[in-house]
């Protein structure tokens, strides 16, 4: 997939990716990873569902469900927002570039 992170996400032990809908990826700015960015997962109505902070390598990860979601990122150096659709359980990679 174009722009998809090359690596699969780091998952806790015992996670069954056939059952979990994992929306994951990395936040970058000018192709460099952005640690410490606040990534929000909003549901199909735009309501807050969860928030994580990106890791030292800019990675984030959510355990969602099939459906329409929006990712919204805040950082002191910029922000970005992107809609995603999860058609079923499994891994859904997303790349987010700060504007």
């Amino acid at each position: 997939m174009c722009g998809a992170p090359e690596q699969s996400p780091t998952l806790p032990a015992g996670i069954d990716v056939e059952k979990e809908t994992v929306i994951y990826g990395a936040v970058t700015k000018d192709d460099a990873p952005v640690p410490g960015a606040y990534v929000r997962l909003l549901d199909g109505t735009g309501e807050f569902t969860a928030e994580v902070v990106t890791s030292a390598t800019g990675d984030f990860r959510f355990f969602a469900a099939p459906g329409d979601w929006t990712l919204s990122v805040l950082h002191k150096d910029g922000k970005v927002r992107q809609d995603v659709h999860a058609s079923g359980p499994g891994l859904l990679p997303v790349s987010l570039s700060l504007q």
Partner: protein
């Protein structure tokens, strides 16, 4: 009680980092966050290992809380400023916990770690050393803590406020979406509960909305009955501490309790009523 009695701004915090009698305490869900950098001079409190009994599902005892705070160098006369990640979820939980054991001089840093970081303010990796104290706690103030029987009896009688996300309320998700979804308890919510996600009480930078916005949200939009007592719950009681703070400390409603057993307990009880929308 006014907002200034329970909340401090990031500007105030920055100007009072070394003020005598003020102790900054960081409480996070990600307990390693503190180690990567914290507000200079802040003490770390681990909600999982230090505020929970390590065998039974309950809080540490009054005596254990006294030992904990004494070891952290927090005295009875200190003003404790709590802050943390996740938009202050666990800091609000600790705030409620401090109140439960009778520590009155406690405040939240508005916006917590998030606002501090988005502002680009200083973080330090230095761990402070504080002299031990002889902290004295009070018995738990059960006027602010609800247990399961009271919650079941409150169905249709009191305001029940489910502060989880709409998808957790409906039963589509079993946990907040940064956590795996395979859980043992049933999905859904307590019948007659209002669904007012905690996030509606906060701005995007993690600070609390104004009193007028909060009252409009709970009363006008969501139908909270001001004449009834209120019990807030979520999954494990941390997000509902955030809403307890908004209702009890900011808006000043008197009879508001936090149900720390929350959905992980209620959704596992045998025979209690559940509503599910999916």
């Amino acid at each position: 009680m006014s907002r200034a009695d329970v909340l401090v701004s990031a500007d105030w915090a920055e100007q009072n980092l070394t003020a005598p009698g003020v102790v900054f305490v960081e409480v996070d869900e990600d307990t390693s966050a503190y180690d990567g950098g914290h507000i200079p001079g802040a003490v770390k409190l681990d909600w999982k290992t230090e505020l929970q009994d390590q065998v039974r599902r309950d809080f540490v005892s009054k005596e254990q809380f006294e030992v904990l705070l004494s070891q952290k160098g927090i005295g009875n006369d200190d003003t404790v400023i709590l802050y943390g990640g996740n938009n202050n979820w666990f800091a609000a939980y600790a705030y409620w916990y401090f109140k439960l054991y009778g520590h009155d001089a406690v405040k939240l840093l508005d916006g917590g770690r998030k606002k501090w970081e988005l502002d680009g303010r200083e973080l330090s990796k230095d761990v402070p050393t504080r002299d031990k104290t002889s902290y004295q706690a009070k018995d738990q103030d059960l006027a602010i803590r609800a247990f399961r029987d009271e919650v079941v009896a409150a169905i249709g009688q009191k305001n029940l406020v489910d502060v989880r996300s709409p998808d957790e309320f409906s039963g589509k998700l079993l946990a907040p979406a940064h956590l795996p979804q395979e859980q043992s308890q049933r999905g859904g919510h307590i019948p007659t509960a209002l669904n007012v996600p905690w996030s509606k009480a906060a701005n995007e930078d993690g600070t609390f909305k104004s009193d007028d916005e909060l009252r409009k949200l709970y009363v006008d939009e969501q139908g909270l009955d001001e004449g009834r007592e209120t019990i807030a719950y979520c999954r494990i009681g941390e997000r509902s501490s955030h809403t307890w703070f908004a209702l009890h400390e900011l808006l000043g409603y008197q009879n508001v309790k936090n149900y720390d057993g929350s959905w992980t307990e209620y959704g596992s009880l045998v025979g209690v009523p559940i509503e599910k929308d999916v």
